[in-house]
């Protein structure tokens, strides 16, 4: 499956959940699939989608909160998995688009061809973890994890095949923040 197919399967499942997206192609491709005010497109601060998402989830315990992360991003901040597990927000769903490369910078390999990130999450203490490899598995896995008590982790294995000709996020960082905050508080 391609990353874009994963996003196309995920997008219709989302309601009004605040969603923090990793930098690079992940923000960019998801923006082109579905631009929602609940999307926090992280354009810099590689590795921090997970901690930002944790902060949102803790501040808004009644709102389901999503993190749409990348394998390179997760590997950069693996300690944050331990923070998420110990803070244990019931409302947090951590989704990782694992293409085994830093695709945004030219598809140099990461380490996730050997390291199973969902097992790292599991042993860190996430309540439930799942790995899917086919687009039709995404909806049932997401729905199962959505019902479960968080933090939960969904690893989606994809081929590196983002479309580099697609446009970048057109909103300014401040617009992204304002829309995102408004969708949460107001």
């Amino acid at each position: 499956m391609k990353g874009i197919e994963a996003f196309e399967a995920l997008a219709p499942l989302l309601k009004n959940e605040p969603t923090v997206l990793a930098n690079g192609f992940i923000s960019r491709a998801f923006f082109n699939v579905t631009d929602r005010k609940e999307n926090f497109y992280m354009i810099g601060s590689m590795g921090l989608a997970s901690s930002i998402g944790l902060g949102v989830a803790l501040a808004q315990p009644e709102r389901k909160t999503l993190i749409l992360d990348g394998d390179g991003n997760v590997l950069m901040s693996m300690g944050t998995l331990a923070m998420i597990a110990t803070c244990a927000p019931k409302n947090l769903i951590h989704i990782v688009i694992d293409n085994e490369v830093y695709e945004s910078t030219g598809s140099q390999r990461t380490l996730s061809h050997e390291i199973k990130l969902e097992e790292v999450a599991k042993s860190s203490g996430y309540k439930q973890v799942m790995r899917v490899t086919r687009p039709e598995e995404i909806q049932p896995a997401y729905e199962k994890l959505y019902q479960a008590e968080g933090p939960v982790f969904l690893l989606i294995k994809v081929e590196p095949a983002f479309d580099a000709s697609q446009g970048r996020v057109t909103h300014t960082p401040e617009e992204i923040r304002d829309r995102f905050m408004e969708s949460i508080t107001g």
Partner: protein
Amino acid sequence: MLSSKIFVDKLRGNGFDFFTGVPCSLLSGLIAELEADQGIGYIPSVREDAGVGLCAGAYMGGKQPVLLMQNSGFGYSLNAFTSLNLIYNIPVLVIMSWRGCGGNDAPEHIIMGDINEPLLKTSGMEYSVLDENNADQVLTTALKKINDEKVPYTLLVKKGLFDERH
């Protein structure tokens, strides 16, 4: 000496309600006070940049966050400040211990101690040096920056300011 308890009460009194950080012995009294408080608590961050991310998310979720760190952690979190907080305008109150201040500390702190202020300035991070007598005044300034300009504001803490508990 500034009492950790009194300062934590001032932070709470000014609406700060979310606390995280990576410890420094100079801040040990503050962290002990925060951890003793059942109501608000303190979240241990694994790295200072993760703390920056955590506070950014908490802020956008409606909290008023405080991040405690040693100045060594400023190095780790510089990219987070410059490519997250300072471009999205996401404020946070940073309480940063100034190790190596005046060149009088362990070798690993000397360089950062020397460049701490210039590095804050050059990266556009506004700050004050906290002392025994200016707590109310610097918190007023910090809140103005945080609420009006939506930028991070740093309070530098020298050795011996707070009661240390280790």
